[in-house]
């Protein structure tokens, strides 16, 4: 079987599995009294929450239901204020959204005993077992014993909704009640990336509800450490056989690309929204952030956090697909051209600048970052994305040169279901998926699109034949 047939097969089964899960998931009701043992006072039910990623301070809350937020009391005590479900579980598939506060940590305790770590690990380059998605150490006094860091740090900024899926296998006991098989974390998927796989747990984490082990017990969310919000908590008892069968003939040593001390520029085919693009370029940074850009249309496709690329589909054997695959946690962007000339403020943003766009090439800056060069109408454009040192943000900037004065050139910054200015000055896009930070004094044009989404545009004013503008994508 060809490698890519295999991968395709794998992807298809994965997709099917998700669809089945959706059908079978039991939503845990956050509004009713039936889901949890009595709510400790530190857990509040609200409709919206926001934690400022850039400054400490109280969360912004909005009355209502749908979101559980934990705000530990100032005089909190150790091992108090945990949230326990009425449901008791053995094997479990769990799926939820979570939001961290700046510098905060918490944990999900399977059967109230085995902790998967929640933490504000934003921008951390070398995650350990205390970081988001880490499996906390087993023994209280031994540093790191059986602790497992996540395979990659794919944590997003505080105040953004993040997504976690856990597949848990409970310990097994014989008729005499003797444990015959350890508990196992079959999988932890964080923001779309598998960060733990098939981890055996010899015993409970200290800090759980009990030090013994059992077949059935409630799920627990830790409440005694830091601020955290949860929503859309869903679970089901997994079907008997959840592990995909790997065919021996399909095993190929993967060919991975990763940046060293300098960024890596990589041209090859990429799938984008299910379509194979033939002229994208992927750029990966040592800070473990990457982006993909389409040279065919002059548009930013996606950014991701974590590992860079799997090039097996290009470089194994004949490379029949010529397809590279992004390895980290993706934010897929709308993929419209970065720039356009708009006749009026109501003009629709084009899907393509067609013949007005002419890709010219790219230059490499001293640090190895590419600067894309193209012609757009009469303007010569240079476009870059460069990350900050901690890999928390990309600065996306363009400069334009044009012989005549122009006021109708626009830079499209973002599009989402909503774009909402948050306390502290960040714009949260698409239900708090990522932030946009604008330079001071820059006034965006925020408007509804025909598809009932919201988009943010910045004007590019050409004066003395030059112009330029930038924003930061923070996530």
């Amino acid at each position: 079987m060809k490698l890519f047939t295999f991968l395709l097969f794998f992807l298809l089964t994965a997709t099917c599995a998700v669809a089945q899960q959706d059908a079978a998931y039991t939503p845990v009701l956050l509004t009713g009294p039936n889901s949890f043992k009595p709510l400790p006072a530190n857990w509040k039910l609200v409709s919206e929450v926001f934690f400022n990623p850039l400054a400490d301070g109280d969360p912004v809350l909005k009355n209502g239901t749908g979101v559980l937020v934990n705000i530990p009391a100032k005089n909190k005590k150790w091992n108090e204020g945990h949230l326990l479900t009425n449901m008791e579980h053995g094997d479990l598939d769990l799926d939820l959204d979570l939001m961290m506060a700046k510098g905060s940590n918490s944990g999900i305790y399977l059967q109230g005993r085995y902790e998967v770590r929640l933490s504000d690990s934003w921008g951390k380059q070398d995650p350990d077992y205390t970081d988001a998605g880490g499996i906390y150490k087993r023994e209280a006094n031994t540093e790191g014993a059986e602790g497992r860091p996540p395979a990659q740090n794919v944590s997003r900024a505080p105040g953004l909704w993040q997504h976690m899926q856990i597949v848990f296998r409970a310990p097994r006991f014989n008729a005499e009640g003797k444990k015959t098989e350890n508990a196992r974390l079959v999988k932890v998927i964080y923001n779309g990336v598998t960060i733990q796989e098939n981890i055996e747990l010899s015993g409970p984490t200290t800090g759980g509800i009990a030090s013994d082990e059992t077949a059935m017990a409630p799920l627990m969310f830790q409440g005694d450490h830091g601020q955290v919000a949860l929503r859309n908590i869903r679970y089901r008892v997994p079907p008997a056989n959840t592990e995909p069968v790997r065919r021996a003939s399909a095993v190929v040593n993967p060919i991975l690309v990763s940046p060293g001390v300098a960024p890596v520029v990589h041209r090859g085919f990429l799938n984008y929204n299910g379509k194979k693009l033939t002229a994208p370029v992927a750029v990966g940074y040592p800070q473990k952030v990457s982006y993909a850009y389409d040279l065919d249309k002059g548009r930013l496709l996606e950014v991701w956090r974590g590992d860079f690329l799997d090039a097996t589909g290009m470089w194994y054997s004949r490379g029949e697909q010529q397809l590279a695959v992004a390895l980290g946690s993706l934010i897929v962007l709308p993929g419209k051209p970065t720039l356009a000339f708009l006749p009026g403020k109501d003009s629709v943003w084009p899907d393509s600048n067609t013949a007005a766009y002419n890709y010219l090439g790219y230059d490499l800056l001293k640090d190895g970052s590419p600067v894309f060069k193209y012609q757009l109408g009469d303007a010569m454009i240079r476009e870059t994305l460069t990350p900050d040192n901690s890999g928390k943000r990309f600065t996306h900037s363009i400069s334009a040169e044009m012989a005549k004065e122009a006021k109708d050139l626009w830079f499209r910054v973002a599009e989402g279901s909503d774009i909402a200015l948050q306390p502290g000055g960040l714009y949260a896009v698409n239900d708090k998926q990522y932030y946009i930070q604008l330079p001071e004094k820059v006034k965006p044009l925020i408007r509804k699109t025909a598809a009932n989404t919201t988009e943010m545009l910045l004007p590019v004013t050409i004066k003395d034949q030059k112009g330029g503008v930038n924003y930061e994508l923070v996530w």
Partner: protein, 675 residues
């Protein structure tokens, strides 16, 4: 030379002497003279490559300072200095991140590479030895099909650049986006003009001293065997997929796909009534003279590389070897002779360039396309030792035959004996089917030979020479004045035109002896003869045997292929004496067969298949031997065949293989017969 190359060499030599009985020419080389080897004249040196550097070479150029600039399939460009020693070569990465760079050129301080969809200029503006501008010169649309390779640029004297675009592959060659299958010319400021169509897999092209452009082609649909074609503006080189775009503005080609008959006649004959269809200057008989023609390299070393100044060296990817071509222009048409030259390279040769010292650098990769040289990639250097090999330097067409020029004086008496030579004409079918068997092969009896006074030339008068045909010219009997046999004693002359001029008066005509004329072990036929009707073979039963009655097969086995010359099943099990239905589905993009053989005889059978030489393809590369138990025919890409057989009654491991020359070394599996 590794053992593998030597093996292949021996097999080839045997193939060529097969038709000669020892007694048919009286003189034997004196026992004291050992046969020469290629390495006695051309030494092969391997350049070390640093660990972790995956140098799958796609393109190469020599810089003015003697360094090599090399680009790779993984999109990197390396500057390699100190390539001729003493000491180790030094590797510095010049550029990276490009999409499959398969050609590199150097011009005025800039490096040019082709990527899949773009001709790119790399410039080091700050002089730190690394490219910092990757500028598009020109780009073309691509569909995303893996077969859409792009090659070039070759700089023309006026500074314009030529590129070629490989056809897509969808079970056959296809031109899925504009100008696939074409040669294009691109100006430095990015203006494009289509030049010629009909290309299929044009990995190599070059310009000769006269300013004429040639490209090399790989066997496939509409390409019966490898070939080298002189491409002029407006030419159509044979594969009609590209003609989809001949109606576009700027197309110099006016033919449409409907103009191309799919009759299987020789291409030369079709070209007579389809103006614009260009037959090749050189045919490269498939399997004997390579399987995937690649680089074309003119010898302009001024004698530093030996006696072949002005001739053309031709690389082959699959057979990891280099061949040699001497072209001539007769009545305004290019044609010439093709000889073996040097084999035993470590991987598949894609690129060749001259070093400043006149040695030849071969850049190689075989990833995904198995080559005789087993390395995944490599860089080797071929150096002339300074000793003069005894070779046919060239062959020229004459009004009544051929003139062979030698590199050293011959023994005139032996060389004057017609029995020292054998000439056979043949050609290939021109059709949409992948590849072609050898067709219309017929002997050209040697009527007489006149050897020049200095012993450097032999003028051969032969009968039945045919225009448009390939002529295998064997000179096995010829000895040098010192008694040596030729280093390579055969060549293939593609005869597109016969020169006018005076014919020799042959006084003593020797009768042609039939068995002299046989080609590669098969009895010769005259063109008038009907081809023998294929006799159904018990080893290939393609309908369920009547004797099975209504019973189904005990086992139905379906075997496909994987890239890199593999069956998709390495093993299958059957019970001894059971009824087996085997479906071989060739889902690869090249020809394969499936041959089940006696335990332990896979290589032996493969080598017997190789010895079938030119007639191998016609006979499905299945040799007549009891070692072969069951087999399919040679299947074109995207075709399948079902065979029925009864499993051997003796348990054991029975190999199955593709017996196509070169494939059988790796393309094997095991049928385990259990009790």
């Amino acid at each position: 030379m590794n053992w593998f190359g030597r093996l292949a060499a021996n097999a080839l030599t045997c193939a060529l002497c097969f038709s000669y009985s020892q007694a048919s020419f009286g003189q034997q080389a004196p026992a004291a003279i050992l046969p020469d080897k290629e390495e006695d004249y051309y030494r092969l040196l391997t350049l070390p490559i640093p660990q972790g550097t995956i140098l799958e070479i796609g393109g190469m150029a020599t810089l003015p300072n003697g360094s090599l600039m090399v680009c790779t399939r993984r999109g990197e460009v390396w500057n390699i200095s100190n390539t001729t020693g003493p000491g180790m070569p030094v590797y510095k990465k010049f550029a990276s991140g490009m999409h499959e760079a398969l050609w590199l050129a150097y011009k005025n301080g800039d490096v040019y590479v082709t990527q899949r969809s773009e001709l790119t200029r790399l410039r080091d503006t700050d002089g730190d030895g690394r490219a910092d501008s990757y500028d598009k010169v020109y780009s073309w649309p691509i569909s995303g099909n893996y077969h859409e390779y792009a090659y070039g640029p070759m700089f023309m004297p006026d500074g314009n650049m030529r590129v070629t675009l490989n056809l897509s592959w969808i079970g056959k060659g296809a031109s899925l986006t504009k100008w696939r299958g074409w040669m294009l010319e691109i100006t430095p400021d990015g203006k494009m003009t289509p030049i010629a169509a009909g290309l299929r897999s044009p990995a190599g092209f070059m310009m000769n001293a006269a300013g004429d452009v040639f490209y090399s082609e790989n066997q496939g649909d509409w390409v019966g065997s490898g070939r080298i074609t002189h491409l002029e503006k407006g030419d159509f080189a044979g594969n009609p997929a590209s003609l989809r775009w001949s109606g576009e503005p700027g197309s110099p080609v006016k033919l449409t796909p409907a103009d191309i008959p799919d009759t299987g006649e020789p291409m030369f004959d079709v070209a007579k009534r389809v103006p614009g269809l260009k037959p090749p200057a050189i045919w490269l008989p498939y399997g004997i003279m390579g399987k995937s023609t690649s680089e074309l390299l003119n010898d302009y070393t001024g004698g530093k590389f030996g006696p072949f100044e002005g001739q053309l060296f031709v690389g082959d990817q699959t057979q990891s070897k280099i061949m040699r071509v001497a072209l001539e222009k007769v009545n305004g048409v290019y044609q010439g002779v093709l000889f073996p030259f040097r084999e035993g390279f470590s991987s598949g040769i894609l690129r060749m360039v001259w070093g400043h010292d006149g040695s030849l650098f071969a850049g190689m990769t075989s990833r995904g396309w198995s080559a005789v040289g087993k390395e995944e990639y490599g860089l080797q250097r071929l150096v002339w030792t300074g000793a003069m090999p005894f070779e046919m330097k060239t062959v020229r067409a004459m009004p009544d035959g051929f003139e062979i020029e030698f590199t050293q004086p011959v023994d005139r008496a032996i060389a004057a004996d017609p029995a020292s030579y054998a000439i056979t004409g043949f050609t290939y079918k021109y059709h949409s089917t992948y590849g072609s068997p050898v067709i219309n092969n017929a002997a050209c009896p040697v009527l007489g030979v006149v050897v020049s006074q200095d012993g450097m030339k032999a003028r051969i008068v032969a009968d039945s020479i045919r225009m448009g045909y390939i002529h295998e010219i064997k000179a096995e009997g010829v000895r040098s004045a010192k008694g040596k046999p030729l280093l390579h004693n055969f060549g293939y002359y593609t005869l597109n035109s016969i020169p006018a001029g005076e014919k020799l008066k042959i006084t003593a005509v020797r009768p042609a002896i039939a068995h002299h004329a046989g080609m590669q072990g098969m009895p010769a036929k005259t063109p008038a003869q009907k081809p023998a009707v294929a006799v159904p073979s018990a080893k290939r039963v393609i309908a369920q045997p009547v004797s099975w009655g209504k019973a189904e097969a005990d086992y139905t086995v379906v075997i496909g292929t994987k890239p890199g010359l593999k069956f998709d099943q390495a093993v299958f099990y059957v019970k001894a004496g059971s009824r087996v239905k085997l479906v071989f589905n060739n889902n690869d993009d090249m020809q394969h067969n499936l041959v089940i053989v006696q335990p332990g005889t896979a290589i032996e059978v493969g080598e017997l298949g190789m010895k079938m030489g030119l007639l191998g393809e016609k006979n499905n590369y299945v040799p007549q031997t009891p070692k072969v138990l069951y087999h399919t025919n040679l299947l074109g890409p995207g075709t399948k065949e079902t065979i029925y057989f009864t499993a051997p009654t003796k348990s054991g491991d029975y190999p199955y293989e593709c017996s196509v020359p070169g494939h059988f070394y790796v393309m094997q599996g095991i049928m385990k017969v259990l009790n």
